[in-house]
């Protein structure tokens, strides 16, 4: 395909969509699929065909729209009306929607109330849950069909790559550096800088690797992006490849995410067919292709050197750095591992410019962040917010609080590597630095809300148990330290703990932080330490009482 053909194709698809009287898109991500989205799409399609409306109504899928607990979600775009989002749809409700709203509109009848008979299922798109979000990475979710390349093109797809093809590798690195984009996997290293290291390396082969091994329990940002906008990740990876003169791309995705794997494989096939991947991309003379590898359930593979070992088909154990992967990575060649969300930001940065991106967020944390909002919260789901928003705004305004008569006690960010943040600190703005100061971390974006009935001691134990189980066992501080710390915590949970146990926990924690080989061991004590810091009384209350005189 020639570069100009991108626009032709996009314009044709857009004209087709605009010619439609009604457009119905149903969330086709794992969450809504599990709630029966496929039955609804099938029913709508059958109804549309049966009523002879096929040329007037478009039916399709789309990426996660956020309100996963209220699925399946259907978004309706009716000519002359505002978009409407319907929640908790059923096939029968879909038929009513077609009969009472879609068919009349398509047949040219005046409709005053497109909400029609499904009023109880309408989600207010002006509510805080949506209004306070800012969607960059998730901008196509709810609009484009992730399984259609043409749909991605309508929304500016592959224009970022097109621009990148006219720039030098150094210019791309500079642009991304200027945008202030930092790694969304958790550590927050400047992406442009990371690319630039790989760029400077002289090698005949270089790899760019996408880390889609979202191992953090309670998080599904990367799954949603891979499922909802696979082409954006593909495009981001290709731009990254141009920035460091990489020759091959590797997707590493959790085997537990079959739909995400499917969507990426499909996107690669479509892009290859269109001449966007493979030889002589967009007539530029540049060639690049992808490989897809599956993870197999190992949290430690989120660490880049462990991930690389796993891509090589070995046990996923980390190795000491340096040498960093940018010097010696996959098959000993310079490699760069980027997180899914980081890569999905890239095409938008190239397309809209570094200043556009840098205008969002705080001084040091630019852009937006996708969070998976779960736990004891009214609006469970996926949100994307500008950096700098406070935790309180996310939990209370967007999330709607606990939704029960219980009070919010705190949130855990960063999963098993992060920490607990008490409600009293909720006015802290979201940024890499602020969260670290609180003893937590940005992490990949899991945000788990706990209420006043939940025990932080038990939650800390839950996370530590997870890390102990997932420790690869290669280094002693993590393997032995974690296990010993878990024993002590078990003792406290059982009511047999002493002050000395807490002192020992702190000591072991320090050893693990300093001595562990990789981030898994270094950060494993975080949940316990932050719980001790912010909720010390919950620990002391559980300690063994010398002859308790309680009535």
């Amino acid at each position: 395909m020639k570069p100009e053909e991108l626009e032709v194709k996009a314009a044709a698809e857009l004209a087709k969509q605009q010619a439609m009287d009604v457009r119905l898109v149903c969330c086709s991500s794992t969450g809504c699929q599990s709630s029966g989205a496929a039955d609804i799409v099938a029913r709508i399609k059958a109804d549309i065909t049966e009523r002879g409306l096929a040329g007037k109504v478009q039916v399709g899928g789309t990426g996660c729209m956020g309100l996963c607990s209220k699925g399946p979600l259907v978004r309706m775009t009716c000519k002359g009306h505002e978009d409407v989002l319907f929640s908790e749809m059923t096939p029968d409700l879909a038929t009513r929607l077609v009969d009472e709203v879609v068919a009349p509109v398509a047949n040219g009848e005046e409709i005053h109330d497109p909400v029609g008979p499904l009023g109880a299922h309408v989600v207010d798109l002006h509510a805080a849950f949506f209004a306070m979000q800012e969607r960059v990475v998730l901008s196509n979710n709810g609009h484009a069909d992730p399984e259609k390349l043409a749909d991605y093109l309508v929304h500016g797809g592959y224009q970022g790559l097109r621009k990148a093809l006219t720039m030098s590798a150094e210019e791309i690195c500079q642009e991304v550096l200027a945008s202030g984009l930092r790694g969304r996997g958790g550590a927050g290293y400047p992406t442009g800088l990371k690319w630039d290291f790989a760029r400077r390396m002289q090698s005949d082969v270089k790899y760019v690797i996408c880390n889609g091994d979202e191992g953090d329990p309670g998080a599904f940002m990367d799954r949603s992006v891979l499922e909802g906008d696979p082409h954006a990740v593909l495009e981001g990876m290709m731009i990254a490849a141009r920035a460091m003169n990489a020759t091959n791309g590797v997707f590493y995705i959790r085997a537990e995410y079959p739909l995400a794997v499917d969507r990426i494989e499909k996107a690669i096939r479509q892009a290859r067919q269109a001449g966007l991947v493979g030889r002589n991309i967009l007539n530029s003379g540049w060639s690049f292709d992808f490989d897809v590898r599956l993870g197999a359930g190992a949290f430690v593979c989120g660490e880049e050197t462990a991930l690389i070992a796993s891509v090589e088909g070995k046990r996923g154990t980390p190795r000491p750095r340096p040498p960093f992967p940018s010097v010696k990575g996959l098959w000993d060649k310079p490699s760069c591992v980027n997180n899914v969300e980081t890569l999905a930001n890239v095409p938008r940065i190239l397309l809209n410019g570094a200043e556009w991106f840098a205008a969002k967020g705080t001084e040091k944390s630019k852009g937006t962040k996708v969070f998976a909002l779960t736990g004891k919260i009214a609006h469970n789901g996926l949100v994307e917010v500008p950096m700098g928003i406070t935790i309180r705004e996310i939990v209370e305004t967007i999330g709607g609080g606990t939704g029960t008569d219980r009070k919010v006690k705190g949130v855990q960010t960063g999963g098993p590597s992060g920490g607990m943040i008490p409600e009293s600190q909720f006015d802290t703005p979201i940024s890499y630095e602020h969260l670290q100061q609180l003893g937590s971390m940005m992490g990949s974006g899991g945000l788990i809300v706990i209420d006043d009935h939940d025990s932080v001691v038990e939650l800390a134990r839950f996370y530590l148990d997870f890390c102990v189980d997932e420790s690869c066992g290669k280094c002693a501080p993590c393997r032995i330290g974690g296990t010993q710390m878990l024993h002590l915590l078990d003792k406290i949970v059982a009511g047999d703990g002493t002050e000395e146990d807490i002192a020992n926990i702190r000591m072991i924690a320090q050893a693990m932080q300093k001595g562990s080989l990789c981030a898994l061991g270094q950060t494993a004590p975080n949940p316990v330490l932050s719980a001790l810091k912010h909720f010390p009384s919950e620990f002391t209350e559980r300690l063994k009482q010398p002859a308790a005189a309680e009535a």
Partner: protein, 179 residues
């Protein structure tokens, strides 16, 4: 080394011999693709039988020790037949907070087995799994890949009844039967 001498007189029962040969040929060409080959093998058989692992190793030229090194490292691979219904209770954080341990114990009591075990008749296999990524539907379980979301953690019996009837969602929205 004793493994090697035993290789030749092992009968492959679980999979037709050539199926593994084809699979091995496909992946052999790609460097470092042992994990991918094992995924495909488990995808077909439901687990990785020892005999098949031996055969695969021989075809791909990978020592059995290396194969087991990988198989035992990753949670995803199963070394024993998991049974007809594989019940995976999500033990991720969101589900944990919403009481998934209670659900897991409930199912253990109903089936009379522990997590990680199968019923003697081979009907059910129960396992706890790390996050399935459907946290919006917590607490949840998946059975043979189908998600059973928003479960009542005190009603393990009900979940098993739904499994038998193949009705994934516990909260059946109204009673409309989808065709």
């Amino acid at each position: 080394m004793s493994e090697d001498t035993a290789l030749d007189d092992v009968e492959v029962e679980e999979a037709p011999e050539d199926e593994i040969v084809v699979l091995a040929q496909k992946w052999k060409k790609k460097r470092g693709s042992l994990i991918m080959a094992l995924h495909e093998l488990q995808g077909r058989l439901g687990y990785v039988p020892r005999e098949s692992a031996m055969k695969l190793g021989r075809e791909m030229g990978i020592p059995l020790a290396n194969i087991y090194e990988v198989l035992t490292f990753y949670n995803y691979f199963k070394l024993e037949s998991p049974g007809k219904y594989i019940i995976s209770v999500c033990t991720g954080t969101a589900c944990h907070i919403k009481g998934s341990p209670k659900l897991l114990h409930g199912i253990e009591n109903e089936l009379g087995i522990k997590e990680g075990e199968s019923t003697p008749d081979g009907e059910y296999h129960l396992q706890g799994v790390r996050c399935l990524g459907c946290c919006g539907l917590a607490p949840l379980a998946s059975v043979n890949g189908k998600v059973y979301g928003k479960q009542d953690v005190t009603d393990a019996h009900g979940l098993l009844e739904n499994v038998k009837r193949d009705e994934p969602m516990h909260v059946a929205a109204e009673s409309d039967d989808a065709e």
